[in-house]
């Protein structure tokens, strides 16, 4: 029986319940998503590779297992697609770049291996900004487009993940985040993105951008689905020595809908400044909803937050330039021009700049420790602007736009998470008046390894609002 379009927009948790109850066939669900991918990808460019044969084979196997009573868990039989920067054994892994456009790894990333073990179905590999740092316009596979307005960017670098989820081309994805690359697309596409604590999820098999800032984490349509995914992919991995051996909690326990007694920190400066008026209104309204649910709002301050992006940029680009040193020497012409520009320029950073940035990082860590003595979660906007139109190729080729000037501080609300390693969750909290109506996101920061409290607040907020139920004006 054909699967109704409404089912494709259901949260994975609900799809999983239907599969477990044998009311939904993994084969039919997978076929329905593959058909939607085929219909929408020419317009959205979310997928670089569609693994239809693999998906159908895995779905058939899942169905056989479930019929025989061997149900693996809530992701069994659910399709997903990772950003094409996660190595998948025997399947093209491009990093969104012409430099690695034909690479077929002979190994599997830990994340995709764990998802396969949980019975998830690999539908394909998703578009991204080249090496998670390109323009998204001149990159090797062209830009993904925002389903809420195809002329606009879904942000990046996990651009295809944001697009595919908003357009219901898959219910689950994995993105990566070095300065905000999970949370930016979540913010612009009206979906949920989690950058969990550094060390919570293995980065083995994920192509490096910057070792000390890189994270790979869930991108989903609901907070509960992010919790489900994290449950599967979290935990120690001997192949990634940065992963912690701490026990992974049961995240489903956090989905209570109850935030009474929690203290929500509201920064008094920097992270809440320079917002577009509609974003400021949506942010304040979201805070009011959380307060209405029984949480307490408290003022907090991160005195050096305005340095987070500049310092983070130095660390990210210096580490990236070191990582790509050989490729830049042997095949510079294959890089996206803006990637080459950034990496070339980073080679001229002084070592003292890198160390200074790492000292700023220490300050930020100390300041966030202080913040979390005053509150349980810190709430900031997902970003400070609405999704912008896709750039022209000439504009997209350089950071030094004609007539532009450098600001002393780059702003932004996401790099703080990478600089401190702290977890941060973005979820939809409104839409612009439009037209076109464009998503607006709320970002919640938590204590190290306390993703549970983020899920608790995010899920409660989600239950009290319906932003996550909206669908973009896009039909097959």
């Amino acid at each position: 029986m054909p699967v109704a379009a409404d089912v494709l927009f259901l949260p994975a948790r609900e799809q999983g319940a239907l599969i477990r109850a044998r009311k939904l066939s993994p084969v039919e669900l997978t076929d329905a998503y593959l058909a939607r991918i085929e219909a929408l990808n020419p317009r959205t460019n979310a997928f670089i590779t569609v693994t239809a044969d693999v998906a159908r084979r895995q779905a058939a196997a899942a169905e056989r297992e479930i019929v025989r009573g061997r149900y693996r868990g809530p992701l069994h039989g659910i399709p997903y697609a990772p950003k094409d920067i996660l190595a998948t054994k025997g399947i093209l892994t491009t990093n969104g770049s012409k430099v690695t456009a034909t690479v077929v790894p002979d190994y599997e990333s830990t994340i995709t291996a764990r998802l396969a073990e949980a019975g998830a179905i690999l539908a394909g590999k998703l578009n991204l900004l080249e090496f998670a740092m390109g323009s998204g316009v001149v990159s090797g596979f062209g830009p993904s487009r925002n389903p809420w307005d195809l002329a606009r960017t879904p942000s990046g670098s996990s651009s295809g993940s944001g697009t595919a989820l908003a357009a219901a081309m898959v219910p689950l994805s994995i993105g990566t985040d070095t300065g905000g690359s999970i949370r930016g697309p979540a913010n612009f596409c009206g979906i949920v993105g989690l950058k969990q604590t550094y060390g919570r999820v293995s980065r083995y098999g994920v192509t490096t951008l910057a070792w000390s800032l890189d994270h790979a984490g869930p991108m989903t349509r609901t907070v509960a689905d992010a919790a489900l995914m994290l449950q599967v992919i979290a935990g120690h991995d001997p192949s990634d020595p940065t992963t912690t051996a701490d026990v992974v909690p049961d995240y489903s326990q956090a989905l209570t809908g109850d935030v009474r007694g929690l203290r929500i920190g509201v920064p008094t400066r920097f992270l809440t400044e320079g917002l577009a008026p509609e974003i400021d209104r949506a942010y304040r309204a979201a805070l009011a909803v959380v307060r209405g649910l029984g949480a307490t709002l408290v003022d907090v301050d991160v005195p050096h937050a305005e340095y987070a992006t500049n310092a983070g940029w130095v660390i990210a680009m210096a580490e990236a330039a070191a990582f790509h040193e050989q490729r830049l020497r042997t095949s510079p012409e294959l890089f996206d021009p803006i990637v080459r520009e950034r990496l070339d320029a980073a080679r001229f950073y002084a070592a003292t700049d890198y160390i200074k940035a790492q000292r700023v990082r220490t300050l930020l860590m100390q300041e966030m420790q202080t913040v979390f003595t005053q509150c349980d979660v810190m709430a900031v906007p997902g970003g400070n602007a609405l999704p912008s139109p896709l750039e022209s190729p000439s504009d997209a080729g350089t950071d030094v736009k004609l007539g532009s000037t450098a600001s002393r501080f780059r702003g932004g609300t996401t790099f703080l998470g990478n600089m401190t390693g702290l977890p941060a969750l973005v979820l939809p909290c409104g839409f612009s008046a439009g037209p076109p109506a464009l998503p607006i996101g709320l970002q919640l920061y938590g204590r190290a390894f306390d993703e549970s409290t983020l899920f608790r607040v995010g899920h409660a907020y989600e239950q009290a609002t319906d932003w996550h139920r909206r669908r973009p004006p896009l039909s097959p």
């Binding site: 050096h304 510079p332 070339d344 300050l363």
Partner: protein
């Protein structure tokens, strides 16, 4: 090589401009303009020290980008940190 040092102490410039009655934003803009400019010659020399793999076109692009980086980094370079602030610990010897 032996000409006067073109570098300008930014804080001193801001103080002078402030004393002349310029507002903070204007003073910051003017001080930014007083910062040394990355020239093709200096970048070429630095590139040679790196490994000399830059061709003229790449060096031209890098020149603009390095100049922009200088401007972005100015605020961080001016930030005065307590001597006790060490770089963030990213190396775990126990592992």
């Amino acid at each position: 090589m032996n000409g006067p040092d073109p570098s300008v102490d930014r804080r001193a410039v801001l103080q002078i401009l402030g004393a002349l009655g310029f507002g903070a934003a204007t003073a910051a803009d003017l001080a930014a303009q007083a910062r040394p400019v990355v020239s093709p010659g200096t970048l070429q020399q630095a590139a040679t020290l790196l490994d000399g793999s830059f061709d003229a076109a790449r060096l031209g692009v890098a020149e603009r980008a390095v100049q922009r980086n200088q401007e972005h980094m100015a605020a961080m370079r001016e930030l005065v940190l307590d001597d006790a602030v060490e770089p963030a610990p990213i190396f775990a010897p126990s592992r």
